[in-house]
């Protein structure tokens, strides 16, 4: 229809340049239109006869439009467009040969559909005008002679890499266009900007032909699972499992986490609407120390088309370290005792406490070395930074010297530790924190007043963020957990605090009788670390007012203390950009090395000892990165599929600075099972960005005609007249016809 009305295909208008071929200047055209409009206005006003109101104006507009159209045609409008010269250009045809193309849809596989499109008409049509180079691709492109060489068995799809390879191979050829036949299921996360930029620089249009349904009829697929890379032994972990489904809305499905085949968490969920992303958290215990490969899965549902996308694996390094927390308490109180008890029951934590029993005496507990900190609260970075977390109890701000206050700030900022400030009669506003440098660390605005500590039993409640937080998760089921908190005994006391600072997260509010609610438990990130305020010292009532078998107090405090330290970095920290190498071998190991004062070490000797899935060990030296002092990296190739553990050891002269673990896993052929629906968005975007066009398999026949319009390769410029388009005559007829009909109706003919 478009071509009937406008004479040429849409691509001509899309890619061509509009020109007026008449030699007269355009301003004369504009002047002519204005003059004609003026004359017609004068004429219509003078001869309006019985026409009243807006009717003369309508007649004037129709006549003016008609005159303007005629004048426009006199200026000879046309489209100037570059077209590929026949038989002088090369067209590269790339066919996706990955496993996802073997998916059967209807009576044919996607691969067979692509072969049929090419063999039936397209290859022959292209061959008449161009030299055609036929490729198949998976991880890389490979020349082929005919479509019968397609196997749909490549374990991965790398669209970007394959395109770059073809462009490089044809850099000396007059490549006029690329035709890409694929389902768009790319395993490398899409096509990077560099590749797009290279294609655009050479002005090569990439035309894409999409295969496969854009959504499955009956399928459930896990699209992601987010877990922490590192965890403390015995800690509670959350796996946020994201999935979507088609054809099972409203039904139930069982989501599970397995460690070495054993189910460690499972939950039945109700499935949301078709295609809607759905995220469900699953909580489980990290268990004993060591690297773990966890399988996150959804039990297959009846009639599922693809069951290979129902599970994926994630790696978690359950650390052997036992983080240490220093608890400085300014006065004996019940909270201290019960926090200590909670910590003593936690095998993965060590709580060292300093309690001011009298004005000048400090009672120390939980220190391995009886002489550690016997002189009092740390005054040197290496003393304080030996801990991973810090709890400041009911101690006035000025109990700490200026040096110690600076150290406490650096503890969170540079060392990356977690600091918890508790309520109490010498804490927060009562302890003069509002005017101290430590106020900056607090996630709440501390009022500049006294009388803010209240020994009144008070109710409290979780906020929405509190209900979602692992710190406050007493029971795995979120609903039951929320209900459990409503039956907790009141806290014995609280401190007034102001509003939470921007960026801070309020997990609990206190609801004092007859007063407005206030933040009770607030957390925030500070520098490399994190800080929190728990403005009470009255949770001991959770122990004394509940049965002795109840573990809510212990669980809460263990989780709060783990929050403080679980992300506190060691002096040597190791990481990899991606924990799962999907159909690739190259991995980059990163390490960050710091000394006892947590200052970067630029001259360390850093080695990675990597143990592969077959137990074979390799050592790689890591080199300093120019981007940052203390940062080191090494590239390595994982030759076999499976899990790898890299222990990174850093030293300086004869001193060992520390060691850390990074884990990663190479998986071959797994990613191809996911995202198997046609990625219409990716194919469409690739075509749009490069000046090509997306075609479905059904209308791919048009491609042979439209592909000629390209500025790459060897081209010639054509001018195509527009004055004789049927649409122009129709428009003229419409203008005159409308005027005639209106005049008849208004009786002025």
């Amino acid at each position: 229809m478009f071509e009937f009305l406008f004479k040429y295909p849409g691509a001509v208008f899309q890619k061509g340049q509009f020109v007026l071929l008449a030699s007269w200047p355009v301003w004369i055209l504009a002047l002519g239109v204005i003059a004609a409009a003026g004359l017609l206005l004068w004429h219509v006003r003078r001869n309006r006869g019985s026409l009243t109101g807006a009717r003369p104006l309508v007649i004037w507009m129709l006549e003016t439009a008609m005159i303007a159209l005629l004048l426009f045609l006199l200026w000879h409008p046309a489209i100037s467009i570059a077209t590929l010269r026949p038989q002088q250009n090369v067209v590269a045809v790339l066919v996706d040969d990955s496993r996802s193309m073997a998916i059967q849809e209807g009576s044919q596989t996607r691969s067979a559909q692509a072969a049929a499109v090419l063999d039936n008409k397209l290859l022959a049509a292209l061959g008449k005008k161009f030299q055609v180079r036929l490729y198949r691709f998976g991880k890389e492109a490979e020349r082929m002679q005919k479509t019968s060489q397609l196997t749909a068995s490549a374990p991965a799809t790398r669209l970007g890499d394959s395109l770059q390879q073809v462009l490089a191979e044809s850099s000396t050829l007059p490549l006029g266009a690329v035709v890409l036949l694929s389902d768009g299921a790319d395993n490398s996360g899409g096509i990077d900007l560099d590749t797009i930029s290279q294609i655009r620089q050479r002005r090569i249009p990439v035309h894409t032909i999409g295969f496969g349904r854009e959504k499955a009829e009956k399928d459930i697929e896990i699209t992601d699972a987010v877990l922490p890379v590192h965890a403390l032994a015995d800690s509670r972990l959350s796996a946020l499992v994201t999935f979507r489904q088609y054809g099972y809305a409203g039904q139930k499905a069982l989501v599970s986490v397995r460690d070495a085949g054993k189910v460690v968490a499972s939950r039945e969920v109700q499935l949301k609407a078709d295609g809607a992303p759905q995220s469900e958290p699953l909580l489980f215990n990290a268990g004993l120390a060591g690297p773990k490969t966890l399988e996150i899965s959804i039990d297959p549902l009846p009639g599922e088309e693809n069951r290979n996308n129902n599970s994926l694996r994630r790696l978690v390094d359950v650390e052997t370290r036992k983080p240490r927390i220093l608890y400085m308490e300014g006065e004996p109180r019940w909270e201290f005792k019960f926090i200590r008890r909670a910590a003593e029951d936690d095998r993965s934590l060590q709580l060292a406490s300093m309690l001011r029993t009298t004005q000048n005496k400090i009672y120390r507990q939980g220190f391995d070395d009886p002489h550690e900190l016997e002189e009092g609260f740390p005054a040197k970075p290496e003393e304080l930074f030996a801990f991973d977390g810090l709890i400041v109890g009911s101690a006035e701000a000025n109990y700490f010297t200026q040096t110690q206050q600076d150290l406490i700030k650096e503890f969170a900022n540079r060392r990356g530790g977690g600091i918890l400030f508790l309520g109490g009669r010498f804490a927060l506003a009562e302890g003069g924190y509002a005017h101290s440098p430590l106020a900056e660390l607090l996630p709440v605005q501390v009022p500049d007043t006294k009388g803010t500590f209240h020994r009144d039993y008070s109710s409290f409640e979780l906020t929405a963020q509190g209900r979602a937080s692992l710190i406050c998760r007493l029971l795995e089921d979120p609903e039951r957990n929320a209900v459990r908190w409503t039956s907790m005994p009141q806290i014995a006391n609280y401190n007034d605090v102001g509003e939470a600072k921007p960026g801070a997260i309020v997990l609990m509010d206190v609801l004092p009788a007859g007063r407005h609610r206030m933040p009770l438990l607030v957390t925030e990130n500070y520098g490399r670390g994190r800080t929190a305020v728990f403005s009470t010292s009255g949770t001991w009532r959770w122990v004394m007012s509940q049965d002795h078998t109840d573990v809510t107090h212990k669980t809460f405090w263990q989780q709060l203390m783990r929050y403080l330290v679980s992300d506190s970095p060691s002096r040597v920290a190791a990481s990899t950009p991606r924990a799962v190498l999907a159909d690739e071998t190259k991995v980059t190991l990163h390490a960050e090395v710091r000394d006892k004062a947590f200052k970067p070490v630029p001259n360390a000797v850093v080695e990675a000892h990597i143990v592969g899935p077959d137990g074979a060990s390799t050592s790689v030296e890591m080199t300093p990165l120019p981007t940052g002092e203390g940062a080191y990296a090494a590239d390595w190739s994982a030759e076999k599929p499976g899990s790898y553990v890299a222990e990174i050891v850093a030293g300086r002269e004869k001193e060992e600075l520390g060691r850390a673990i990074a884990i990663f896993r190479r998986e071959d052929g797994v990613a191809e099972n996911f995202h198997t629906a046609q990625n219409r968005e990716l194919l469409g975007k690739l075509a749009d960005e490069t000046g090509g066009r997306y075609y479905s398999a059904a209308n791919a026949g048009k491609l042979a005609d439209e592909i000629s319009y390209s500025e790459a390769g060897i081209t010639t410029r054509e001018t195509k007249d527009l004055w004789d388009m049927p649409a122009v005559f129709l428009l003229a007829l419409l203008l005159r016809g409308s005027e005639w009909v209106l005049r008849r109706r208004w009786g002025v003919v």
Binding site: E331, W334, F336, R340, Q359, Q365, Y457
Partner: protein, 266 residues
């Protein structure tokens, strides 16, 4: 006199309880002994710690104490005099007045440190035994004081073994933190009651050897601290009396403070 005190204490208790329904506040009970001390002006202050005295029934063992039973022995002067020391010598936020609690309701759970005297005359009901057991297992601390000789020991044993039938009573080792948490009191002496004035003896009945015994929880923490053949209560009560030797009072204060700080740290 006693009746007036009882009425006054009750009225105060009712009015204050109406204000703070969740935690009982100070209430004065009739004393046994004739050494009354006035109610301190800040008796109703809300503090972290208060001297909680256990009001227990003496039952069949109450004959020598009359209907009230033995629980108010040395009360309230010993309590109020001791807490002055706690206030002066430690950073514990301490109430100037004592808190009398029983085992019939749940009020005891608001006071995690508990003191009882003359336990050689105690006679708990089954429900009270269960309540005391639960209190201790939750984390409460119980200091028993002022009972002497094998006869009173047997009465105490009968009561406490109904609380913990399967937990042994052991001598506290000198190295236990309870003797070192604030004051090092590895070397201890027998602390006598005021009978020492009249008899010159530091022991009562056949209790010539002082014992510092305990019942521990599963984590090795003292739950019940038993001061047997000694009278720390009298040492606190008569601390200001010229005839009562300072060395006994001094140890009683240090011992009591150590027990409190231990209870707040272990």
């Amino acid at each position: 006199m006693r009746r007036r005190l009882l009425i006054r204490g009750s009225l105060v208790a009712i009015s204050v309880t109406a204000l703070f329904a969740l935690q009982a506040t100070f209430r004065e009970f009739p004393a046994l002994e004739d050494d009354h001390v006035p109610v301190p002006p800040d008796a109703y202050e809300k503090t972290e710690w208060a001297f909680a005295r256990l009001m227990y029934p003496s039952g069949k063992n109450a004959s020598v104490f009359g209907r009230t039973g033995s629980w108010p022995t040395d009360y309230p002067k010993a309590d109020r005099q001791f807490v002055q020391g706690v206030r002066r010598l430690t950073r514990i936020h301490t109430r100037s007045s004592e808190q009398v609690v029983d085992l019939d309701g749940d009020e005891v759970f608001n006071w995690p440190w508990l003191y009882a005297v003359e336990m050689g005359h105690s006679s708990f009901t089954d429900a009270q035994c269960a309540k005391l057991r639960e209190y201790l297992l939750r984390g409460g601390f119980f200091m028993c004081d002022d009972f002497h000789g094998s006869g009173e020991w047997n009465v105490f044993l009968e009561s406490i073994q109904r609380v913990f039938p399967d937990r042994p009573i052991v001598e506290i080792d000198n190295h236990d933190p309870i003797f070192h948490v604030l004051y090092d009191i590895g070397d201890r002496i027998q602390v006598p009651g005021i009978q020492y004035w009249y008899t010159g003896r530091i022991w009562e009945k056949d209790g010539k050897t002082p014992h510092w015994r305990a019942i521990y929880d599963d984590h090795g923490r003292v739950m019940v601290a038993i001061c047997f053949n000694q009278d720390n209560g009298d040492a606190w009560e008569w601390a200001d009396h010229p005839r009562y030797p300072e060395r006994y009072t001094s140890q009683a204060y240090r011992m009591g403070i150590n027990y409190i700080i231990y209870a707040m740290t272990h």
